[in-house]
Structure formats: C-alpha cells, structure tokens
C-alpha cells in the first residue's frame, strides 16, 4: 500500500479530463489533469506504489523509470500542498 493517503480534510470529484480536489478546511480547489489524476485515483484506492507505477506504464505508455519519477513528483507536490498525508 502507498505510504500516502488523502488528507483528512480533502474530498474529491472525478470530472471529464481530471479530478478536482477540495480542501474542506479552506474551500480551495486544485485540479489534476491526467495522468496525475490517475495517480490520485490509485493512491486513494490504497494501491501499493509499485502497482501505481505499473498501472501508469500501462495507461500512459510510460517507461518504468518515467512512471516512477512522475509518481514521486506528483506525490511530493500533493504532500507539499497538504493534500496527502503519510499513513
């Protein structure tokens, strides 16, 4: 399972072309397009990091190294924005 999950105060909705994340504490909205929206989806389903990378390779035609880099980068950005927490 990924070491990160959605922060307690975050809710999200799937849209055509991505995912909207709402920080219910502040009311702020963040939009994720694809493939970052797919990372969010896998992460909130509790997929292991390795599986998220494998899924990304399949759906976004990425090499394993590129998929891993994208996952790391996306999760770091979400963490810095307070949208995911460790645990």
């Amino acid at each position: 399972m990924s070491e990160y999950r959605a922060a307690e105060h975050v809710r999200w909705a799937v849209e055509t072309g991505g995912v909207v994340l709402i920080d219910c504490a502040t009311g702020a909205a963040t939009t994720l397009g694809y493939p970052q929206a797919a990372i969010w989806d896998f992460l909130t389903r509790g997929e292991p990091d390795q599986q998220i990378c494998a899924n990304l390779c399949a759906i976004a035609s990425l090499t394993p190294a590129a998929a891993q880099a994208l996952v790391l980068e996306t999760v770091a950005a979400l963490r810095d924005a307070g949208l995911v927490t460790r645990g």
Partner: protein, 311 residues
C-alpha cells in the same frame, strides 16, 4: 433577497424537504427580537421584501404579529407555506391586499388540506412546486389555478440535497427527464395564460434545444441564479442556503449588510463552485462562457468522494 426562517416546526413531513437537517436540529421558533434584527438586516441591505419560510412559517405562535411588524416597516411580505395553516395566520394573510402580502403555496396536486387556503387567499396565493422525481404531472397545477382563481404563476423548484443529504432530492442524472417534461408543459401553461418561473439550480442542458427562447425573459435565471440567497435561521444564524448550511454559516451580522455577507459566503464557497453537478461541467462551453454556473452547489458537493463534508 434573503429568507427568514421563522420556525423549524412543520405540520408536514415531505420526503424531499431540504430544510430537513435544520428542522431536526430543533432550534424551535425565532424570537421577536431576532426577527426584528433580521428586519434591520433587510432594511440596511436595501431589500424591500420579507420572505418568510420555515418549517411551516405560519406555525410560529406569533406569526400574525411578525407579519404586521414587517408591514409596518414598509416591507412587502412573501410567505412560503404548505397551505395548511392555523386560522389566525390565514385570517392575517387574507386581511392584506396582494400588493403587500403574497403566499407561495408549495403544493401537491390533490392535497385536500390546501383547499381552504386557496379559496380564501385568492390572488394573494401562487403555486410553488418542488420537483423530486421526473414522474410529476404539472398540468394538474393548471387545474388548481383555474379552479381557485389564484394568481396565474407557478414557481418550479428542484428538490436539492439537504445539508446531510438525508432527503429525497432530485439526482442530476434525472434533470434531463424533468427538463423535457417542463418543456412539454410550457405550451399548455401559455395556453392557460399561466407564467412559470424557475428557482435556483436549473441548468440549460436539462432542457431541449429552443426551450430558453420559447420561455423568454424567465429563462434568464436558468443556470445563473445562485447569488446565494441567504437563509436567516430561527436561532439567529445565517446560512448560504439550507442545503449548504454546513459550509457557510455565521451569526446574523449586527452592522454588515447582505452584500458583505454574500461576498464572504461566495468567497468561502468558491472552491466548491469549481465543481458542477455533472462531471462534464468542467469542459462545458456554457460553463466556460458564464452562461451556466454548473447548477446547484449542494448537488455538486454530493459528487465529492472521500467521506461526508464535516461541519
């Protein structure tokens, strides 16, 4: 506009009631002092009409006095009622002309309990109809208007989710079926010289092409009428509206006017406004061009995953 909710008491138990969560909170009746503060708020906001609702507002034990207080200030009074009201309330309402007092009766065709109110209120009364299913028959409303000679207007509302979504609200996936039925009804309404109007939450894409043109000026509010309304509750708090009570709620301001409060609520809800009632809203041309605001915010919030919205 702003609504004043006089009481959480109600003599009906409508499955679609979007004030259900507030009614369960048991806040009771608004005090006369709070009502006066609410009227002060309307006056300093330049609002010329006191819109009284509930629960069932006429069940407030001092309802006639509250109506008089609003009228004494030169305000028009509009009451949103289910039409089943105590005799003193009915007597009070029928004692004023339609220019000063009107009553929007939230009706269910065939409801015998409302007949007396229709008969006695005459042109002070107009029909209001909340849609919670596509299986409704609006032509029965025309029969009511003909039969009782009440005002030839019908306000249609969508049953939006209550703050805790515990009511039987109209899911946006059913909007198109509702829009088709309303478009079909428009012709019959026009033939009977009855003017329909549409409350908040209606979106252009729920209607067949050409509907807005056929409707004329009344179509202006479709897709754009959430400002938000402001509902003043019996306990003296103000919420953006009943369905959004968990997201935007403050004590009734002592000094500020409705515009300032509305601005603060709008800012607080702006992130949620990014959502629309459909997942397709984000890419919709009507949304991007500002012709549609994405529909009812409460229905949009229902799309959120990850757990209920905390209060």
């Amino acid at each position: 506009m702003a609504n004043i909710s006089l009481t959480t008491a109600c003599n009906r138990d409508c499955a679609y009631c979007f004030a259900a969560a507030e009614r369960r909170s048991g806040a009771g009746h608004m005090s006369v002092g709070t009502f006066q503060k609410a009227l002060d708020f309307l006056e300093r906001s330049g609002i010329g009409e006191a819109r009284l609702l509930g629960g069932e507002p006429t069940l407030h034990p001092e309802f006639p006095r509250l109506v008089e207080l609003a009228l004494e200030r030169g305000l028009r009074v509009q009451v949103f009622s289910n039409g089943v009201m105590p005799e003193p309330a009915l007597r009070c309402l029928e004692s004023h002309p339609a220019e000063r007092v009107t009553v929007a009766i939230n009706t269910s065709p065939g409801d015998a309990g409302q007949q007396e109110a229709f008969a006695r209120l005459g042109n002070r009364a107009a029909l209001s109809f909340n849609i919670n299913t596509p299986a409704f028959e609006p032509s029965l409303l025309l029969d009511l208007i003909r039969q009782h000679r009440i005002s030839p207007r019908i306000r249609f509302g969508l049953a939006h989710p209550a703050a805790d979504a515990s009511n039987r609200f109209l899911h946006p996936l059913r909007y198109q079926a509702v829009g088709t039925r309303l478009a079909r009804f428009l012709e019959a309404a026009r033939a009977a010289a009855v003017e329909p109007s549409f409350d908040c939450g209606f979106v252009p894409c729920m209607f067949p092409p050409g509907f807005a043109d056929a409707l004329g000026p009344a179509a202006g509010g479709i897709g754009s009428c959430c400002s938000p309304i402001l509902d003043i509750l019996p306990d003296g708090c103000v919420v953006s509206c009943f369905p959004l009570a968990l997201l935007a709620r403050e004590p009734l301001p002592e000094v500020e006017n409705a515009e300032a409060l509305r601005g603060r609520f709008t800012a607080r809800l702006s992130g949620y406004r990014r959502l629309g009632v459909f997942r397709e809203c984000a890419a919709c041309e009507a949304r991007q061009s500002g012709r549609c605001n994405g529909g009812c915010l409460a229905a949009s919030v229902e799309r959120l995953r990850g757990g209920p919205i905390a209060s």
